[in-house]
Symmetry: D2
Subunit: 200 residues, 4 copies
Amino acid sequence: MPKQNSDLHGNAPDTSPVVLLLIDVINDFEFEGGAQLLRHALPAAKRIAAFKERCARARIPAVYVNDNFGKWRSDFKRLVSHCLKDDVRGRKVVELLKPGRNDYFVLKPKHSGFFSTTLDLLLKHLGAETLILAGYTGDICILFTANDAFMRDYRLVIPSDCVVSQNPTENKRVLKYMQRVLEADITPSTKIDLVTSTGG
Amino acid sequence: MPKQNSDLHGNAPDTSPVVLLLIDVINDFEFEGGAQLLRHALPAAKRIAAFKERCARARIPAVYVNDNFGKWRSDFKRLVSHCLKDDVRGRKVVELLKPGRNDYFVLKPKHSGFFSTTLDLLLKHLGAETLILAGYTGDICILFTANDAFMRDYRLVIPSDCVVSQNPTENKRVLKYMQRVLEADITPSTKIDLVTSTGG
Amino acid sequence: MPKQNSDLHGNAPDTSPVVLLLIDVINDFEFEGGAQLLRHALPAAKRIAAFKERCARARIPAVYVNDNFGKWRSDFKRLVSHCLKDDVRGRKVVELLKPGRNDYFVLKPKHSGFFSTTLDLLLKHLGAETLILAGYTGDICILFTANDAFMRDYRLVIPSDCVVSQNPTENKRVLKYMQRVLEADITPSTKIDLVTSTGG
Amino acid sequence: MPKQNSDLHGNAPDTSPVVLLLIDVINDFEFEGGAQLLRHALPAAKRIAAFKERCARARIPAVYVNDNFGKWRSDFKRLVSHCLKDDVRGRKVVELLKPGRNDYFVLKPKHSGFFSTTLDLLLKHLGAETLILAGYTGDICILFTANDAFMRDYRLVIPSDCVVSQNPTENKRVLKYMQRVLEADITPSTKIDLVTSTGG
């Protein structure tokens, strides 16, 4: 192939010091405990959708960082389509959080968005310094991804109302953990002043 | 998200000790030097297609390991579609090497298929021990990928008639290099006995 | 250099399906909160030392996975020597847990033992499938390392009496977390039957 | 352990946009072909030593990136000591290139200095943008390391008189390859103006 070292810019990623990561929001909720999780996840999806909209207006790009759910032959669009067209529990969540044509996506095979994916390189090309994390679930994929982001020196914003876990008590605990150990800002999305708090 | 550690097997990758990697074959050849490369690449595409067919019959899975060509928002299917539908130089190559529904794919942002991608994890789940490399170009992306495969202890088969470079002399040299340093088997595809030589 | 692909075995690592990781035990405790942590860490060091001795008899190798404490020019032996010879808080801990000539060591620059280190490759060469984690502190470096081990499909044993954190309540919580999410066995070291529970 | 995210700076790596990597120069040459390689390597060691001296005066830090030669329990200082004290072929090379107290070192288990090591993180903390590569052998560990450096967007300077391979013809070829594909500057060390050509 031709040398493409300097031209990762074909269709050109915009650059932005702040990037919104949407973790596992494209999700059929068809797993054990999925119905229970959905009770918290659907209201959160509305808040995430509103916040994503505000981010877009502030020119903060969104990256869907999503489980491949073991479907190695699948692609992101097929996952979206499965959640929207098949009669699955997660349909309303995915309708709210359907990706747009300017969004990025990264399929992750394991819990952390950084493990065995191209996420870190994408974030470097976007020029990201601060990551805003939202999605499911707080005490698993959000925590794993946040830990990995912290080791890579990203500043973390994790709005407490945009992250849910199976168990609300565990969700509160993990938010406090990420605030204490990872120095994450866990201000609820509605109180975040995107310009001031993110430097965006 | 639910713990998915033991269920990378949703739509289940088959397992196979031998895996065929098709490097940058989904390609519009719309770059400087592309027309010249195409003169070698098109005949090679015919040989690769025939060989891929034989691999499929021997139950050797194929993984497309392909440049994202700087289009971070794109996906593999859109790349294929661009090469088939737009009036591009590479159309005939891509018609010959169009992916099937059982093939895997990995988008790579840089030269090596292992750099900042999920390829190594996919190969581990397939149980791969021997990799067969074919595609473009021998002295860049094939070499980078082969070096990385060698450090990860994969055995290499690189059929000399299924690899081309801009410059045929450089192509021969890099094949000899990979034979000498990486202990690659560079037997032409038509002389490879898939059962014997790959242990498949 | 000569090709060394097949000879990672010079002075030959033994192989073992079970490996003991000692996290940040070579430590001067000369940091804010160090005196407080030491109150829990010193009794734990005695238990870890006894357990390490039992592991050695069961032919389970030990790997010291230790912060470089920002001293990029340093090496592991100098860290040990600093803790033993300079008049530092951690001296007694390090006397108890001084590495022997058969132990391995990996310096880690960040919280997880797997991040930007050779640990995973060393564990592969040892043939490790189960990791026993012990050391400091439970809710930071142990958790980060355990998460990364889990994503790499290692089975985890984390003896509850061999892990301490600044805050005992947080320590209990993180142990329960690792039991629940990472499926870690948190049986206290004194109740671990090394042969049965580790398959060693 | 305490959070050390912001204090990788204990004994503080200096920062420098240009860094000299010395590849596999700490070497006993006690392997098949070692005597033959030494005929080229010893004169090169003199040139590398003189160039390293000039780099030091230009405040360009040196990082020894060295095989662990399969000795997982070993450390860099023991390797140096083995080469200096035991009666080995490489003794004179190592006397010339003995590390000083301001030098950094990274043990690599495989061919590329970046594979399964902390090199990339160290270079980021040094603020490196340009890497100067010198050492042995050109067509194996230098090439593997240079490829990996190129994918990580480092600018490469590879002085043609400070790199040797078993076979001089292969050495010339690989230098031309790195010039053509990796855009490496292969000006001989004696003609490099450290201030101008490295921007240092």
